[in-house]
Structure formats: C-alpha cells, structure tokens
C-alpha cells in the first residue's frame, strides 16, 4: 500500500521533471556552452575561452544597454510605486462606485504590451508634438521618441501606464489587511494624514511593498515588447534594453556566442538583484 503511493509519486515526478530539464535546464547549459564559442548562429565554430566575457566588459554598446536598462528600471519602479500607492490609498478609502474604479484601473494590465506600445508610439509621434506646437513649446513640438536624450522617457511612460495597474491591486490587498482599529488607536494619538501613513499604514504593508519592488525591478530589467513597439532600440542605440540587444544581435546579428555570454551575465545580474532585494526587504520586515 505504501509502495503504491511512492510509485505513483515517482511516476508523476520523473516525466514532468524530464520535460522541465529538457526545455529549461538543457537550453540554459547550452547557452553557457555557446558563450565560450565564437558561434554565429550557423556554420562551424571554435572554442575561444573567456574571450566573449572579456570583450563584453569593453564593448561600448553592451555597456550602454546596461546603463539604459538600469536607469529605466530604477526610475520606472519609483514612478510606478509612488503612483500605485496614491491610487491604492484612494481606491481603498470611502469612495462611490468602488468596484467600477477598481475594475477600470486594472484594465491597462490585461492589454498586450506590444499593441499598447504601438498606440503610444502614435501618441508620441503625432499627438504630443501637435499639442506642443499648439502651446508653443519647442521641446514638445518634436517627437520625444526621435531624440536620444528623451526617448527613454516615452518607454518609461508606457511601462508605467501598464505596471501601475498591477502594483495598485497588490497595494490594495495590502491595505485591506490593516485592521480599522489601528487607525482609530492612531487617531487618538493624533496620527492623521501623512503621519498616519508614514508611521501606521506603511510599516504594516511593507511585505506588499517588497513584493512590488521585486516584481517591478525584475519586469523592467527584462523590458522588450515596449522597445520593439516604440523605438527598436533607437535613436542612436539610446534605448537598447539588454533583452532587446540579445535578441537583435544574437538571433540575427551573427553574435550568437557573444550575446550568449551577455545573456549569462544578464542572468547572474537578475538573480543577484532579486536575491539582494529579498534579503534587504526581509531584514526591514524583521526590524518592525
């Protein structure tokens, strides 16, 4: 009887584990192997040791893409979380048509990022400059996407427009865990408004804050669809995210081996950032 249970569990686990290894672990290992070659994506190739990794650290284009991706991830994470917190507080307060508002504010999240990107592309290319011309602003009368110093702002706006929805709903579920009598007790001590938020509400929703931080940073570091729809990495390679560079140069640019090395570094970066964030926010929670 006991054996029957054991056998059943093994018969479930082994094939599914094999599937996972086949399409996750093996490609991962193959990616690491390719990163030590000069493979172009076709034809023969040679082992070149750590050459790709050494080149990676001196490659200006790769460096630029890391700078751009991190700048985008950090700024977007801050913008998104500030807006989401304000919206969540508003959506959790005593308002009318609550379920309508919650439903409407989540809507951007379910739409495909690529199509949303195309829609905003038109907005930035035609509508915003027309508005700029109307109000007589020189900097706005040209598309912000065609200027290397401002194109990233467009991507930031589109990423935020969608991501706010997700973060807001997580903050709302955090705010719902705060019992009403905490506010009442705080009210007696004179904690209202900002003070109430800073010393009562926020400490209680820190676990939700950390979920949002980890989710946001990880998602924005992997940004791809928005780049594809808005700038294709341009102008002047100013908006090439790491994922986009790996896709573009690795899949069709003949840099299969080199971009594999880039992907390995990117993988290590993602793991490091996620683990560091979890450690950091975990510590914060303990202190409280």
């Amino acid at each position: 009887m006991k054996n029957e249970r054991k056998t059943t569990f093994l018969l479930i686990t082994i094939p599914i584990l094999a599937l996972f290894v086949c399409f996750n672990t093996i490609p991962l290992i193959r990616g690491v192997i390719y990163s030590f070659t000069n493979f172009k994506g076709f034809g023969s190739y040679d082992w070149i040791g750590f050459r790709n990794y050494i080149d990676l650290f001196t490659d200006a284009r790769v460096g630029k893409s890391y700078l751009f991706t991190f700048k985008l991830a950090v700024v977007t994470t801050i913008v998104v979380n500030v807006i989401s917190l304000i919206l969540a507080l508003a959506l959790n307060s005593k308002i009318r048509a609550k379920s309508f508002f919650r439903g409407a504010y989540f809507l951007p999240n379910i739409l495909g990022a690529l199509v949303v990107g195309y829609i905003f592309n038109y907005f930035f290319t035609y509508i915003l400059p027309a508005v700029g011309a109307m109000i007589g602003s020189d900097s706005l009368s040209k598309s912000i996407l065609s200027n290397p110093s401002s194109a990233w702002l467009g991507i930031m706006v589109v990423c935020s427009w969608q991501a706010v929805a997700m973060n807001t709903i997580i903050y709302i579920s955090g705010l719902q865990t705060v019992p009403e009598d905490v506010y009442e007790a705080g009210g007696l001590d004179g904690a209202t408004g900002w003070k109430q938020f800073r010393y009562l509400t926020f400490p209680l929703i820190i676990p939700f804050f950390s979920i949002n931080m980890v989710l946001s940073v990880k998602n924005f570091l992997m940004v791809f669809d928005q780049i594809m729809a808005l700038t294709k990495g341009g102008p002047a390679q100013s908006t090439e995210s790491i994922s986009y560079l790996i896709y573009n140069n690795g899949m069709s640019g003949g840099q299969f081996g080199f971009q594999s090395a880039n992907a390995v570094i990117f993988f290590i970066v993602i793991v490091t950032v996620s683990v560091a964030q979890m450690k950091f926010t975990g510590k914060k929670e303990e202190q409280l």
């Binding site: 009887m1 599937l19 379910i110 495909g112 793991v271």
Partner: protein, 281 residues
C-alpha cells in the same frame, strides 16, 4: 455609532484623484477607437483634427485590417495556444504540485526537485532564447506546438509554487479516508484532491492565460519560420504593411484588443482575484 458616521462620508479628495487618473487610462483607448473608425482624409495635423469623432462609424477599416493581417487565422492560433497551455498547465502543474507538496517536507529528493524547478523562475527568457530557437528547430518543434510545450515549462515554477502552497491547507485525513476505502493514490488525486484545488485552478488559469495571450517574445523566436502568427505577432509582422495608413493600423490594434477586453468584462472578478492570489501567495 462612530463607525456608522464614518461609513457615510465619501472621501471627495480621493474621488477627484481617481476621476482625474481615469482620464489617463481612458484617453489612449478613446484615441484608439476614434482613429480606428476614421478615414485617412479625416486625419488633419491639428490636435482637434486627430481627436474629433469620425464622420461615419463605418466598419471598412476593420474589414480591410482583418484581410491584411489574416486576423481569423491569428485569432485561431492565439486561442488554440492559450487554451491548450491553460488546460495542460492545470493538469500537469497541479499533479506536480501535489507530488512535490506532499513529499518535500520529509524527502530530500522531492524538496530538491521542488527548489530546482522553482528557482527556474529567475531564468530570464533572454538566456534560453537562442538555444531554444536551435533546439526547437532540431526537434521539429518550431511551431505552435513547440510554443505550448515551452509555456508549460516556463510557467511551471510559479504554478507549482502556487499549487503546493495551496495543498498545505488540504488535510491529509481526506486522502487517508479514501485509502481506507481501497482507492489508489492516482484515483484519490482525481476524485478528491483535484476538485478541492478548484480555487487554485482558477488562479493558475487566469495568470497563465493573461501571460500567454499577450506574450510576443516566445512566438517571435520560435515560430518565426512557421508562417503562422499569434495576434500580437501579427501586429509586429504586418506593421510595415500598414504604411502610413494609421487608421488601418489602429483598426487592427483595436481588433487585437477586443477578445481580451470581452474576457475581462465577463470575468473581471475572477481575473482580479486570480492576479492578487498569484502575486501575494
């Protein structure tokens, strides 16, 4: 009494913030709808010209967009991939979640397998993309079927975590009672555990469906040579064919958004619950 008074007061500051914020969500959608219905001749360079209502609400742009982007075929592919991925995920991931969840606390092997698969969550697609493009081509899987297999693997870490987390709340006593009646473990699973996990099936279905439906990268990399498109992929591949006819392009964008919008309007509650459950647990 105090509580009763507090409940009555509407927070008007919050209402103002929310109504203003709503315009930021509504505007791009409004823009999409009116441009999709207009004719190129109606598009002038001024703001009011672009944003005014169309003269007639004709469906011609949509008919043309459907033809240019092979809409029905792309829709069929997207539906097929999404539905099959969701069905397979619910079956495979719940089984695996069950096997690992019931054993990982007392077996080193199962707890290792659990950690091994869950840590797959940190593997970005960027590192798998190039080897997978090669591998699926070698195996003859560079098509919609290969994409489904990959999705089942990619969403396995998250879904297994959700399922085995949910299992903690299901008492072993239920299974033991069935065992006394002589039912096998396999039978007990399908008769008792699988139906009990229904709330988690809903969460997994919502999260997996949303992610798969909107994904661009996987089909882009895997199905590139297969002549087949999903809805988002069709937008990418036919972008150049719209030329400067933005009305046609927007009709196509709107068409690709409509199925998920309908889904959202019908299952809004389940979707919101699913998303929260997935993120917070």
């Amino acid at each position: 009494m105090k509580e009763g008074m507090m409940n009555k007061k509407t927070n008007w500051t919050a209402m103002v913030v929310l109504i203003l914020g709503l315009s930021a969500i509504a505007f791009p959608l409004y823009m999409t709808i009116i441009i999709a219905f207009k004719q190129p001749a109606e598009m002038t360079n001024s703001v009011s010209g672009i944003l005014s209502l169309p003269k007639t609400w004709s469906l011609d742009n949509f008919k043309e967009a459907m033809r240019v982007t092979d809409f029905w075929n792309s829709l069929k592919n997207s539906l097929l991939i999404t539905l099959l991925t969701v069905a397979l995920s619910i079956i495979i991931h719940s089984l695996m979640g069950y096997a690992l969840g019931r054993n990982k606390s007392h077996s080193k092997f199962y707890s290792f397998v659990y950690l091994f698969i869950v840590s797959g969550m940190f593997v970005p697609f960027a590192i798998l993309m190039m080897p997978l493009a090669k591998q699926t081509a070698e195996l003859g899987l560079a098509n919609w079927f290969g994409v489904i297999i990959l999705y089942v693997v990619f969403y396995m870490p998250m879904n297994i975590m959700l399922y085995s987390g949910y299992l903690v709340n299901i008492p072993m006593a239920l299974e033991e009672a069935a065992k006394v009646d002589g039912a096998s473990t396999w039978r007990t699973y399908w008769k008792i555990i699988f139906p009990i996990m229904r709330p988690m099936h809903a969460t997994v279905a919502v999260l997996t469906a949303l992610a798969v439906w909107n994904d661009v990268m996987t089909p882009l990399v895997i199905m590139a040579g297969s002549d087949q498109n999903t809805l988002p992929l069709a937008q990418l591949n036919f972008q150049t064919q719209f030329g400067t006819n933005y009305n046609l392009a927007f009709a196509s964008y709107l068409l690709s958004l409509v199925p998920i919008l309908i889904f959202y309007i019908i299952c809004q509650k389940q979707i919101l619950n699913g998303v929260v459950n997935g993120a917070v647990k």
